[in-house]
């Protein structure tokens, strides 16, 4: 069973729409992360959080934003989706940095 949940699994949306990708974990982990992954490519960190009210930008510049109001919830928002945002988005959490638990990902297609 998954301890970290991402919804939706697949999303096809038109250019200019606002979208929010959901990520929730039930493990009480303080640290949470968002990675972006193009098909067959490596993972790039776009956002991370050390805990409630803590958010930081990752290594790869992204037009998305995140929030961390509750420990278990780390949603990612795109205010105006563009085709260049088409990718897979993976959420993860960790306990003291000793390895991550990943969600199943959201595959986003912007048309």
């Amino acid at each position: 069973e998954a301890d970290i949940y991402q919804t939706p699994r697949y999303l096809v949306i038109g250019t200019g729409k606002k979208i929010t990708l959901e990520c929730s974990q039930t493990m009480g982990h303080d640290k949470m992360y968002w990675y972006q992954q193009d098909p067959g490519m490596e993972l790039h960190l776009i956002h991370y959080s050390y805990g409630v009210n803590s958010t930081e930008k990752g290594d790869l510049s992204s037009e998305s934003t995140v929030s961390r109001i509750r420990t278990e919830h780390f949603p990612l928002t795109l205010e105006s989706a563009r085709p260049s945002h088409t990718s897979q988005y993976l959420c993860a959490s960790s306990d003291r940095g000793y390895g991550y638990t990943f969600g199943s990902g959201t595959r986003l297609t912007v048309v």
Binding site: G40, M41, L45, G58, G97, Y100
Partner: protein, 115 residues
């Protein structure tokens, strides 16, 4: 800067044959090292991890990896590959003392298994 290199982008092995996937890292301190596997369209599953102690670590699904500090390597091995092992494999190093344990991933190695 910290980095992880997986020299092989794609490897094909026959079912039943042995497997070794290479991983080299660049990190100033003692690293925490991980191998993850990703099936198509899925998230990443942890295969095994090394923090300290015995340099040969055992993981799930019959995988093992050996940490060699002198070579800055953490290669993944399996004695006999099954068709279900076909997937993408990622090596990663944790920046445990910097940026709260952020993981740096290698480029990934795609494994194909032929009958």
């Amino acid at each position: 800067a910290q980095s992880v290199t997986q020299p092989d982008i794609h490897i094909t092995v026959s079912e039943g044959a042995s497997l070794e996937l290479r991983c080299n890292y660049s990190y100033g301190a003692t690293p925490y090292l991980f191998w993850y596997v990703q099936s198509p369209g899925q998230g990443l599953q942890l295969l095994l991890k090394y923090f300290s102690g015995d340099t040969l670590v055992q993981g799930i699904k019959g995988f093992e990896a050996e940490f060699k500090r002198s070579q800055s390597s953490f290669n993944l091995r399996k004695p006999s590959v099954h068709w279900s092992d076909a997937a993408e494999y990622f090596c990663a190093v944790s920046m445990i003392y910097n940026q709260g344990g952020k993981l740096i991933f290698g480029q990934g190695t795609e494994l194909s298994v032929k009958p």
